[in-house]
């Protein structure tokens, strides 16, 4: 349910009132930046995705229609932009022959002490395919069928990517833990 203030802000943004648009940005940008950072490996990529998200958000605002939570709608939009960016990047990598193997590293930390930043770092270090599927399944709550449709892959591939992502995350946590002890 939208609060009155939120509704007024959205209506103002629909009228192209720059103050309302800015207020919407101030309110939702931190949340969406969190989403962007999970889907992107670097801060620069995340910022680009956030920028595209807000450009599309204001362009598509008339389609929101005040149905459901605005935060949820904005978040889905952000995920879509992130996926499109990933697909473009994947195409570029195929063209240029660059691989997407992440850099290993990170400060040694025991599992019990892993905070948001460390968990985010672990996700960002996953290979692109693992990271996208893990985010979509484990955090956004999409089914393997939906992930397959969105990414244009088989359901089985989605399952397999998720298992590999989990295994990689476990290995990385264990590795950090060994160093920490």
């Amino acid at each position: 349910m939208l609060s009155m203030k939120e509704k007024e802000l959205i209506e103002g943004a629909l009228r192209n009132d720059e103050r309302c648009q800015r207020a919407l940005f101030d309110r939702y940008a931190p949340l969406l930046m969190g989403v962007c950072q999970r889907y992107c490996r670097t801060q620069a990529e995340a910022e680009d995705v956030l920028q595209d998200t807000f450009v599309r958000l204001f362009a598509k605002l008339p389609k929101y229609g005040f149905q459901g939570s605005f935060a949820g709608w904005a978040r889905r939009l952000c995920v879509n932009v992130a996926l499109k960016t990933y697909q473009r990047k994947r195409f570029t990598m195929e063209q240029t022959g660059l691989d997407n193997t992440p850099e290993r590293g990170g400060a040694p930390t025991a599992y019990a002490d892993l905070g948001e930043q460390e968990l985010l770092q672990l996700i960002q270090q996953l290979p692109d395919g693992y990271r996208i599927v893990f985010n979509l399944y484990a955090i956004e709550g999409y089914s393997h069928k939906e992930i397959g449709e969105r990414l244009g892959i088989q359901e089985a591939s989605s399952r397999s990517q998720l298992l590999k992502a989990r295994k990689t995350l476990q290995q990385q946590i264990a590795h950090r833990q060994r160093i920490a002890i």
Binding site: L31, Q37, F54, A138, I139, R166, I173
Partner: protein
């Protein structure tokens, strides 16, 4: 065992070093098993699902800049659509009006769509050749309405029967079989390619007077009316692009990119157009161009931030030298133009942000713009529509693209500033002599 070995064994063999007091706590904390499967998912989702992150301070400026550039794609799409429609029109308009494939017996050419001859003859036979300069030939000439009477009225039929030409009625009677008539309204107006014994139009042609005079070397090809004058006014999008001339100017470039946005630029042209041989023309003249950008920055006024806007302008005089190729047409014609443009930077005004200065700086004083002659190139597509019976005036619609090859700033400036522009001009053209 050597003495040295013995020395170390005695000294360190039974040594019991101190154990850190918190070692057990550390081991106990790290003994927590690493979750697997759904539990691992939950751990990450719980920690990161609703996580909020810091947003870079210039993000809103970046979004605002990106949103401003988006609508120009619509203008570009509209321009492309206009070009496509115009080109499509000309392709359709210049397509042959009749099927010129020969009949099986070789007597003439075949016309499509069968209609009775009487109907075909009574159809309005006015010529589609209302231009004086279109070439005529016995095979392809058309007949003026005044020269061919309709076949159905008996009086006309009788008159024709007494003439030296073979009567239409006779042909019609002989050819009760249907004749093929043109498919479209345009083609229906011409009977030029009918076989001679189907409809004796070809025999009538020599008596049709001025219409049958071949217009080779006609009015427009006679060497007169070669010079035309044009006046055009256009609006354009000018794309500003900064390049680094010093590696340290990265911050300055970013500042300018997020604070300067394109506005509608415009240009005013006075041109002369000289007709060379065939479809070729040459164009030159003088153009005044104003490239405009909006400058935005936040200033603290009375303790609160205020967004201030002003305009940056780059004014120039240009001399284009264009080759023009005119496609054939009637009142509506199309010309493709291209060529170099010599431009003079005559002035710059406005402000810009600099990382070393809290207040905006003046473009003219600190922007390091050059005033020397520069070179560019342009291409355009001119659509003309001839107005009135005298045909002395034409309306012009001209989408154009122009690129300036060099930077507008001096070589010693830290940033290079390049532009290209695309827009639409409208104007008038008049015969001068």
């Amino acid at each position: 065992m050597s003495d040295v070995d013995q020395l170390f064994r005695d000294g360190l063999g039974d040594r019991k070093p101190d154990v850190p007091a918190d070692l057990w706590q550390r081991i106990a904390a790290n003994k927590a098993s690493i979750p697997e499967g759904e539990a691992l998912d939950q751990a990450f989702a719980g920690a990161l699902g609703a996580r909020q992150a810091a947003v870079p301070p210039n993000m809103w400026a970046r979004i605002a800049a990106a949103r401003r550039t988006t609508p120009y794609y619509r203008y570009a799409a509209a321009l492309l659509l206009l070009l496509g429609l115009t080109t499509g029109y000309f392709v359709w308009d210049t397509a042959p009006t009749l099927d010129s494939s020969p009949l099986p017996d070789g007597r003439g050419t075949q016309v499509q769509n069968e209609v009775p001859v009487a109907q075909a003859a009574s159809t309005e036979l006015s010529t589609s050749n209302d231009r004086a300069d279109a070439p005529l030939s016995p095979q392809s000439s058309s007949v003026d309405i005044g020269t061919v009477p309709p076949a159905t009225p008996p009086a006309n039929t009788a008159a024709l029967a007494s003439s030296s030409a073979p009567p239409i009625a006779q042909s019609a009677a002989a050819a009760d079989a249907p004749v093929r008539a043109p498919r479209s309204a345009t083609t229906a107006r011409s009977v030029a390619t009918l076989p001679a014994d189907f409809l004796p139009v070809a025999n009538l042609l020599p008596e049709t007077g001025p219409v049958l005079v071949a217009s080779e070397g006609g009015f427009r090809a006679s060497g007169r009316h070669r010079l035309q004058g044009e006046v055009l006014l256009g609006a354009a999008y000018a794309h500003q692009r900064f390049g680094l001339q010093r590696p340290t100017a990265q911050e300055q470039r970013t500042l300018r990119e997020v604070s300067e946005f394109p506005e509608v630029s415009y240009q005013l042209s006075a041109r002369l157009r000289y007709r060379l041989g065939g479809p070729w023309r040459i164009l030159t003249g003088l153009t005044y161009v104003e490239l405009r950008n909006q400058f935005e920055y936040e200033a603290m006024l009375q303790g609160s931030p205020r967004l201030l806007r002003s305009n940056n302008r780059l004014r120039m005089l240009e001399v284009p030298l264009l080759a023009s190729y005119e496609l054939p047409g009637r009142r509506l014609r199309l010309s493709v133009n291209a060529g170099p443009v010599v431009h003079l930077s005559t002035g710059v005004s406005g402000q810009f942000l600099h990382p070393d200065s809290a207040q905006p700086r003046d473009l003219a004083a600190d922007g390091q713009y050059r005033r020397s002659v520069g070179l560019g190139w342009t291409t355009s597509l001119t659509t003309t529509y001839t107005v009135g019976k005298q045909r002395g005036i034409q309306l012009l619609l001209e989408p154009f693209f122009k690129q300036y090859l060099g930077s507008f700033t001096a070589p010693e400036a830290t940033l290079a500033e390049h532009y290209w522009m695309g827009g639409l001009q409208v104007g008038l053209r008049k015969q001068l002599r």
